[in-house]
């Protein structure tokens, strides 16, 4: 062979390369024992060479011909490497010893099985003597621990050596326990080694059980441990029950931990909760009559010598969080036998902590001081975060057994959302919602629907709906000016509608189209003047992202549940959030996000995922806003090489079934009632965006109209454009516009709502006939809205339906004789509170009914009691903004309209 005698190699894959390289490394690059230090770059390159080329593996390629000379050469090369490394370990020089141990550790992983089995005991002794030598340099101790744990991991793969390995493991325990008391870095590695040993050879630690437990508990409860290492200690503590495997040892451990934590909380929460809370939990943990289990770490007195102001921060909270982390690990990891979990105590403890909001309990205790309260409020977020993690682990660990406690956990989380205001806590609370939804399925969504929807809407709404699309771009400025111009114009025309309150609120709602977030917030917080433009407080992206993920899961799990109450609102919200997230990509990129590195890209992805879920789980055969959604997905697909593009192409694939329905027999399972409305509307071009949602309210007749449904399907097949009007209300306006304008404007996707409204208005002029039919459609839609609302919630129906009546009664009173007189009175009173921007154009243009209808249709379904005002204002503001734009761009119509006077 070419490489055998030092000649040329056959190439990089020539096996002869390896012994030669290794020989060179040993001869030229490894220092002699006691030799000078090498620069770190050089060491890194040696390490790299050994690992990339696999110099120590002694593994010949499978199909290579047997070559004893090569094997021999390689073996001697590795021999010399090992010899040198061992010599380094034994050297007196600390540096050589350190280096030798490092490379020995590498050898453990890299060398061949035969070599390892042959010499592991020798190597073990070498390293162990390092560990046992008290004068040894810290750095050497650290690397010795690390390489020993590598040795044990490798050894665990040799099943025939189990006995020896176990004996070795037992010998390590004592020196390691001694190391635990050393400073940070050493203890850190020592605990890792101990964990490895317990995990792999639990029985070997049995002899030392008590010592190990007290050493770890002392560490966990001692003051000087930092957060991160103490988590390692906690994880090791969680492993302890596996040393003596029995049903009891596990339960005993978790009960002892809970007792300690409960007692710590007793001190902490004095005056902030009911006094007997702690006692009740104790009763659950130690049933009356039973002997209390031995206290965990009873000799440790955490923070005895620390000043009271520091005590809580430096010891109580870190100890609690470490112990709770230990519980979480115990709940979620494998244990060889079935064990009992003290669920009620666990849930009670979680409830106890999460419901403390820092406010004083009615009864004041002498020991409660404002300082105490302040200290606790200071630490409360981290406590909550710890217990949310515990709750998370409980749900994961208990799986189906959570069922009997399901309702109380659901109540707890729902209540907790009122307390959780900090972004991190909110994110965690959302993740618990997600877990609950996925673990217990559709039944949970019954209970969590309201909480999820209202919280998510509140979190996502703060920067508005569709109007967000043109944030901080130049056109928005124009819009702003134009809308205020319009506004003043209208003031002249309709003085009777004016009063100061309306003008203030409407300004806030209409004009600041570029300051979406603030406008909505203002509206929801009681109509403050519009000066707060720049000081907007928006929900951090991370919270929004989890809110979107939660909505996505809710839609997946219970998307078809009680759809009337929440789907229209959520669907609208999701399309708006997705649109704004995608459009704003540029503007957000400049400023780095503050929380957890979540970026606008993540928001885009999350919003598109939620949007897809909303489409796929839609109870309607053609989900609203489908067209707009497809546009977003198609655009996203162009971002080649990103996760977004990946997801978008998958989404389009998933939507394919929706857009081109195959003749699947399951098709029939969708509400057939929708067929009626589709087929009816297929003929009126304008009705598209507006009455869609309201149409679905009428579902009881579902079963009788199957034929209509078939008709519709057939017509769709023949005539693709017929389905365009069904796509969404907000998005649908643009569609309708393009449909009408003329055949040439076939591009269904319009980037700027301004253009849309322009088209609509232009189209309206061209097609007065279709506007007629539209009006009748609106009329029926209005009738349908009224019916259910009067049954459900009369007050909201008034507020909601008023705009519709106004628009109709202004111009088309004769069309709707069926509306009761009393309602008319209502609508008059509402007129005063309404935006002139909405009814002025509608009174002028019959067609604009359909535009102003959009908020109505969407609002008709606001059933959730919370978060409604926000979206109302937002929708109202945004849509009326569209109107005013259209007016502005076609001023001649406004002037020429006789009805407005």
């Amino acid at each position: 062979m070419a490489g055998a005698s030092g000649g040329f190699l056959a190439g990089v894959n020539d096996p002869w390369l390896k012994p030669r390289l290794l020989r060179a490394v040993v001869a030229e690059r490894l220092p002699q024992p006691g030799g000078a230090e090498l620069p770190p770059v050089e060491l890194a390159s040696v390490l790299g060479a050994v690992r990339t080329h696999g110099l120590l593996t002694e593994g010949l390629p499978d199909r290579a011909p047997e070559d004893p000379k090569l094997a021999e050469a390689w073996r001697t090369a590795v021999d010399s490497w090992v010899e040198r490394v061992v010599a380094l370990v034994e050297s007196d020089s600390a540096y050589s010893c350190w280096l030798g141990t490092c490379f020995l550790g590498v050898t453990f992983q890299e060398c061949s099985n035969e070599r390892f089995a042959e010499s592991y005991s020798n190597w073990y002794e070498k390293i162990l003597s390092n560990l046992q030598e008290p004068s040894c340099l810290q750095l050497v101790t650290v690397i010795s621990c690390t390489s020993l744990s590598d040795l044990f991991v490798r050894l665990a793969k040799f099943l025939n050596l189990k006995k020896e390995a176990s004996a070795f493991a037992g010998r390590v325990v004592e020196p390691v326990l001694r190391l635990l008391n050393e400073n940070g870095l050493v203890a850190d590695e020592a605990i890792d080694l101990l964990r490895t040993v317990i995990k792999l050879y639990p029985s070997s630690v049995n002899r030392h059980y008590n010592k190990v437990e007290s050493a770890i508990v002392t560490k966990v409860m001692s003051t000087e441990v930092n957060i991160k290492p103490s988590e390692k200690f906690a994880r090791t503590l969680a492993l302890l029950p596996s040393i003596r495997v029995s049903e009891d040892s596990w339960s005993l451990m978790i009960r002892r931990i809970l007792i300690v934590v409960n007692n710590l909380l007793n001190d902490a929460f004095v005056g902030l909760e009911e006094e007997k809370n702690g006692h009740d939990i104790m009763l659950l943990l130690v049933p009356p009559g039973a002997d209390p289990p031995p206290t965990l770490g009873d000799q440790v007195r955490p923070g005895a010598n620390v000043h009271i102001t520091k005590k809580f921060r430096v010891c109580t909270v870190p100890t609690i969080s470490a112990l709770m982390h230990c519980c979480s690990v115990m709940l979620t990891s494998y244990y060889p036998v079935q064990v009992n979990v003290p669920m009620r105590a666990l849930v009670a403890l979680i409830r106890r902590v999460l419901l403390v909001d820092g406010s004083l309990h009615k009864k004041l205790f002498p020991s409660t001081t404002s300082l105490h309260q302040e200290l606790i409020c200071f630490e409360l977020p981290s406590l909550h975060s710890t217990f949310l993690d515990l709750l998370n682990a409980t749900i994961k660990g208990m799986r189906s057994q959570l069922l009997p406690h399901g309702a109380s956990i659901i109540r707890l989380v729902t209540e907790y959302f009122k307390i959780a205001k900090l972004p991190t806590l909110r994110t965690k609370a959302y993740s618990i919602l997600q877990l609950l939804l996925t673990s217990m399925g559709i039944g949970t969504s019954l209970h969590l629907l309201e909480a999820t929807v209202s919280n998510a809407i509140a979190d996502l709404n703060d920067d508005g709906g569709s109007d967000m699309t043109i944030i901080s771009t130049n056109p928005s400025k124009v819009t702003n000016e134009s809308s205020s111009k319009i506004y003043s114009k209208k003031r002249k025309q309709e003085p009777q509608v004016q009063n100061s309150f309306v003008s203030g609120s409407e300004k806030a709602a209409i004009s600041p189209r570029k300051r979406k977030g603030s406008s909505v917030q203002i509206a929801s917080k009681g109509m403050t003047p519009e000066t707060t433009g720049d000081a907007r407080i928006s929900t951090p992206l991370s919270v929004k992202i989890t809110a979107l993920e939660t909505l996505e899961i809710l839609l997946n799990v219970g998307g078809s549940l009680w759809t009337d109450h929440w789907r229209p609102e959520v669907d609208l919200l999701l399309i708006n959030v997705a649109m704004s997230a995608c459009d704003m990509g540029g503007s957000y990129k400049q400023k780095p996000s503050t929380f957890g590195g979540a970026s606008i890209l993540d928001l885009q992805l999350a919003s598109l995922k939620a949007l897809l879920a909303s489409f796929l789980s839609s109870p309607y055969a053609r989900p609203p806003y489908l067209a707009k959604g497809i546009e977003l997905f198609t655009k996203g697909k162009l971002e080649i090489g990103t996760k977004l593009a990946d997801f978008c192409s998958r989404a389009l694939l998933a939507l394919d079934v929706l857009t081109h329905p195959r003749a699947l027999s399951l098709e029939k399972a969708v509400p057939v009632g929708s067929g009626l409305n589709y087929s009816a509307r297929g003929k009126t071009v304008f009705g598209g965006g507006t009455c869609q949602i309201s149409a679905y309210r009428d579902q009881p007749q579902a079963m009788e109209v199957e034929d209509m449904y078939d008709d519709w399907l057939a017509s769709t097949k023949d005539d693709e454009p017929a389905e365009t009007p069904m796509n969404g209300s907000a998005a649908g306006t643009s569609k309708a516009g393009t449909m009408l304008a003329d055949g040439s404007q076939l591009n269904p996707i319009a980037e700027d709502p301004k253009i849309n409204s322009l088209r609509i208005t232009a189209a309206a002029q061209d097609a007065p006939a279709s506007s007629k039919s539209d009006v009748t459609m609106v009329d029926t839609a209005a009738g349908e809205i009224v019916k259910p609302n009067t049954v459900d919630n009369s007050s909201s129906s008034n507020a909601v339906s008023a705009p519709v009546y106004t628009t109709n009664s202004d111009s088309q009173k004769h069309v709707i004789p069926s509306i009761p007189e009393q309602r008319r009175a209502d609508e008059v009173s509402h007129l005063e509170n309404r935006s002139p921007a909405v009814d002025a154009p509608s009174s002028k243009l019959g067609t604009s009914d359909e535009v102003s209808d959009v908020p109505v249709a969407a609002l008709g379904f606001h059933q959730a009691p919370e978060g409604r005002s926000t979206s109302f204002a937002e929708l109202f503001g945004s849509e009326s903004g569209v109107d005013s734009e259209s007016d502005d761009s076609v001023p001649d119509i406004v002037d020429g309209d006789p009805d407005s006077d």
Partner: protein, 427 residues
């Protein structure tokens, strides 16, 4: 080599006391017969494939209930329980945590398997409960009085939620005119019920309404779903198994008749029970003539026929037994324990899949990190003289510093929130 596919057993029980027979689905050999067992329809349940539970038909004139547990490999009864009333329908949830029984007086019982505790019992129907099905934690129960009710178990198990709920059940459907014989649930919260009124009805559990009603030429005693969910099988009293489309083919504009696509027919007596395999290729039917037939659903032919006994076969199941280390089984309790006395026993079963592996390779990772650090600090020369401690200190200091920053941040937010709250109220 892929591991051999798990052995699948066909189980069958009869209303005559002929035990539970188990045949290997592949070889056709009878594996074991658990005795004694005489079960009414829908009273045989495999508890997460770990063991078998069968509610016994009461002896003539008797009014006591019995439930038997069997281990897979022992023919005799492992544990006998005596519920408060005879159990007509028995069901276990997917993870085998709970057993749900429907009594002959219309009561429902929910037991925890691990402890045998009766978690809750409630009156559900005016007459006997005939069949049960679960979708997530929605329980669907069908009764002799023709009603189908849907229960949310989370609500059912929680006292406060029960008080808050307007009705104890989530939905109550009364469209069936005669006793409901079988219920099956499927993806998308869809349930199918069969009845003696010669119809099957498809329900949407999320919308709470009937989607379709399909008339059949005879009473239907049993339904089974194809796992792909596009068809279901309905076993009729006339001995035929009707293959029925879940929806209606759009191309055919006929009436509902068209949803019956065909029938599997082997000239048997009434088909009493059906079971479909997870891959949808095999359908097992039990008949009143005492035979168990295994069908190939593609060719629609009988591929095997097992003789169970002279009496009618009432239950068939396809299971893949998991022979795991079972903790001792507890008998099911007759009554609920007094409130709060006994904690429902939540247990963690050993599940190797959630074990966290320990990774090797740490030395080199450690070394790489370390060398990186060294390079940053400009060489190692000082490290082994006096520098070692400074190195450690630096790390420590960094830790403290980070913690400090974290606390500051937290402080900031607390203040922000506190500041905001009044400001939002009085601007």
């Amino acid at each position: 080599m892929a591991p051999p596919p798990p052995k699948q057993l066909v189980l069958a029980a009869s209303s005559a006391d002929a035990g539970v027979a188990a045949w290997d689905l592949r070889t056709g050999a009878e594996e074991i017969r658990h005795r004694p067992c005489a079960s009414r329809p829908r009273a045989l349940a495999s508890v997460a494939d770990r063991f078998l539970a069968a509610a016994q038909a009461p002896p003539a004139g008797g009014n006591s209930g019995t439930v038997h547990f069997y281990h897979w490999d022992k023919p005799q009864v492992a544990v006998k329980s005596f519920p408060a009333e005879p159990i007509r329908a028995l069901l276990a949830d997917q993870e085998g945590s709970y057993l749900i029984g429907g009594g002959s007086n219309g009561n429902l019982f929910l037991w925890e398997v691990a402890s045998g505790e009766l978690l809750h019992t409630w009156h559900a129907h005016y007459r006997a409960v005939r069949c049960l099905a679960l979708y997530d934690y929605l329980l669907v129960s069908g009764s002799e009085d023709g009603s189908v009710k849907v229960w949310d178990l989370i609500t059912v198990l929680d006292e406060q939620s029960r008080l808050e709920a307007q009705t104890p059940y989530l939905y109550s459907f009364n469209q069936h005119a005669l006793p409901v014989t079988d219920i099956a649930c499927f993806l998308g919260a869809i349930a199918i019920s069969s009845s003696e009124d010669r119809t099957c009805k498809i329900w949407s559990l999320s919308e709470g309404r009937m989607l379709r009603s399909i008339p059949f030429p005879s009473s239907i005693d049993s339904v089974a779903l194809d796992p792909r969910s596009h068809v279901f099988y309905a076993g009729g009293r006339d001995g035929k198994i009707y293959v029925t489309a879940m929806g209606v083919d759009i191309s055919s504009h006929g009436g509902d008749e068209s949803s019956i696509l065909g029938a599997l027919d082997d000239q048997s007596k009434a088909v009493t029970s059906l079971a479909s395999s997870t891959d949808g290729l095999v359908l097992v039917s039990g008949s009143e003539d005492g035979n168990v037939r295994v069908w190939d659903t593609r060719s629609q032919q009988v591929t095997r026929k097992f003789k169970h006994s002279q009496g009618p076969v009432t239950n068939v199941l396809i299971v893949a037994p998991k022979r795991v280390n079972l903790p001792p089984l507890h008998p099911l309790r007759k009554v609920c324990s007094a409130n709060g006395e006994v904690e429902p026993r939540a247990v963690i079963l050993p599940r190797p899949e959630n074990d966290v592996p320990i990774h090797g390779n740490r030395t080199s990772i450690f070394m790489e990190h370390y060398l990186d650090e060294l390079q940053k600090y400009g060489g190692s020369s000082m490290l082994f003289d006096s520098g070692l401690n400074t190195q450690n200190c630096a790390a420590n200091q960094q830790g403290t510093e980070w913690r400090g920053r974290y606390l500051e941040l937290q402080d900031l937010f607390v203040h922000e929130v506190l500041d905001q709250m009044p400001s939002s109220r009085n601007p």
